[in-house]
């Protein structure tokens, strides 16, 4: 089977399984809702202030929720010995990786789409800057989190306390991406500065780390 065919098949399988059970999306939604409520106890900003901090709050909530879905990325495969099958098949390891990464990307994007109206309502948000820029920002930032997250989830599969290892390793490496995405969002919301630098940074980060993960994934998969 060709690279794209394998990728599409794996992705379709994951999406179908998720659509039937809705496990991940429910967990993520509820989790980010909880995070928002807890944040509301810590921060009670005016509309003016909330534009300055909302970028950070929103993305922290999404980051924690993304961890939920990333942790279970490979769990199903491990349970059913799918990973062993993949290792033995001639299919390219990267088709599996990209399928998983795209799957996670879709899940987290759906979460973001569902949570954004809630955030707007809770924090009385309105973008002063060019609001359309939020779409590429969210896309680039989500991909940055998801591509590294999927990779590190595969790494932490073979560790003790794997649910702890993933955020531990992911958060430090994601700092530039987090900085980029939070500042870009804040820049657009407050309209005070241009998000262009941060968007460029996110593009560079995405390119470098996607290539690096693709180059290294086969090695990780083979590790036994």
């Amino acid at each position: 089977m060709s690279f794209l065919a394998v990728m599409r098949a794996t992705l379709a399988k994951d999406l179908r399984l998720e659509w039937r059970s809705k496990d991940a999306i429910n967990a993520m939604l509820f989790f980010s809702l909880l995070v928002v409520v807890i944040f509301s106890f810590a921060f009670e900003p005016t509309a003016e202030e909330s534009r300055k901090i909302a970028g950070g709050l929103v993305w922290v909530a999404f980051l924690f929720a993304a961890i939920v879905v990333l942790n279970q990325t490979w769990a199903r495969e491990l349970r059913n010995h799918v990973l062993d099958a993949y290792r033995m098949s001639p299919a390219s390891a990267n088709s599996l990786f990209l399928a998983k990464a795209f799957g996670n990307f879709i899940f987290v994007s759906v979460l973001e789409a569902l949570m954004t109206p809630l955030f707007i309502a809770f924090y009385r948000l309105g973008a002063i800057g060019p609001a359309w820029e939020l779409l590429p920002i969210a896309t680039l930032g989500t991909w940055a989190l998801v591509v590294n997250g999927t990779f590190f989830a595969a790494i932490s599969l073979r560790t003790r306390s794997r649910e702890v290892m993933l955020p531990l390793v992911l958060f430090s490496i994601s700092v530039p991406a987090l900085l980029g995405i939070v500042n870009a969002t804040t820049a657009v919301l407050t309209g005070e500065e241009s998000a262009r630098f941060w968007i460029t940074l996110l593009v560079a980060y995405d390119v470098v780390f996607t290539i690096a993960c693709l180059l290294l994934f086969e090695t990780i998969l083979e590790a036994e």
Binding site: M165, L168, V169, P176, L201, A204, A212
Partner: protein, 227 residues
């Protein structure tokens, strides 16, 4: 190799003592900060040494991914550990310097923040090693070593830009350096490099011995099991 060790140890001891003398007494006193500024002679070379060690880790990780030689893995482990030690020194001496000079223990200026993030990245690397079970640890760690090293320029650059937009008190500011001070700085760096080499060498031998023992132990339990 074994013969070089005592020589290195002596050279290190001599250099460190000389460097210490220069730092505390030989170097001229700084005009605005006074004697506290001398912390600089330990603070900066520690960071430079740590950077060098992390670069070695990057190289060793790539070497392991390409060749799968255990020696490369041990070099990676050693350089990461010793690098974290030196960076810890840097992160501890920084606030001790900042407190009397700028009145604050910590600030999120770009150098401190970037260094803290780099420290976190390599501590997570060491934790990954500790938490992964035996056989795969070198490979997984090598992957993280490569990704972590790729991340470091992003960390520094992005935080630098962030802090140029939102300035906060700058620790260890710019400005030119008196050549006599630069001289003392380099002497201390040379001393730290020798110390790093010495400690890495020790840690390397220790790890080699540890792996030999582990191998012998598993062999023994295998033999006992078959009796």
């Amino acid at each position: 190799m074994k013969r070089g060790f005592p020589i290195l140890a002596i050279v290190t001891a001599v250099l460190l003592s000389f460097a210490l003398y220069e730092a505390l007494i030989g170097a001229p006193t700084e005009r605005s900060m006074g004697d506290v500024q001398r912390i600089f002679y330990y603070h900066v070379p520690s960071a430079w040494t740590a950077f060098l060690l992390f670069f070695v880790n990057f190289g060793a990780s790539i070497a392991y991914l390409v060749k799968r030689r255990p020696a490369a893995d041990i070099v990676a482990l050693t350089s990461a550990e010793v690098g974290v030690v030196f960076l810890t020194v840097n992160l501890v001496t920084g606030p001790i310097w900042a407190r009397p000079v700028w009145g604050i223990w910590w600030t999120w200026d770009w150098r401190l923040t970037s260094t803290l993030v780099m420290w976190l990245i390599y501590v997570s690397y060491l934790l990954l090693r500790r938490f992964s079970s035996g056989g795969q640890a070198p490979l997984l760690a090598a992957a993280l070593g490569v990704l972590g090293a790729l991340c470091v320029p992003f960390v520094y650059f992005s935080i630098w830009f962030f802090r140029t937009q939102h300035p906060s008190p700058v620790i260890g500011g710019g400005g030119s350096l008196d050549p006599r001070m630069a001289h003392v700085l380099l002497i201390n760096w040379a001393a730290f490099l020798c110390l790093a080499w010495l400690v890495c060498w020790t840690r390397y031998q220790l790890e080699v011995a540890k792996r030999q023992v582990e191998e012998a132990q598993s062999l023994e339990s295998l033999l006992e099991g078959s009796r």
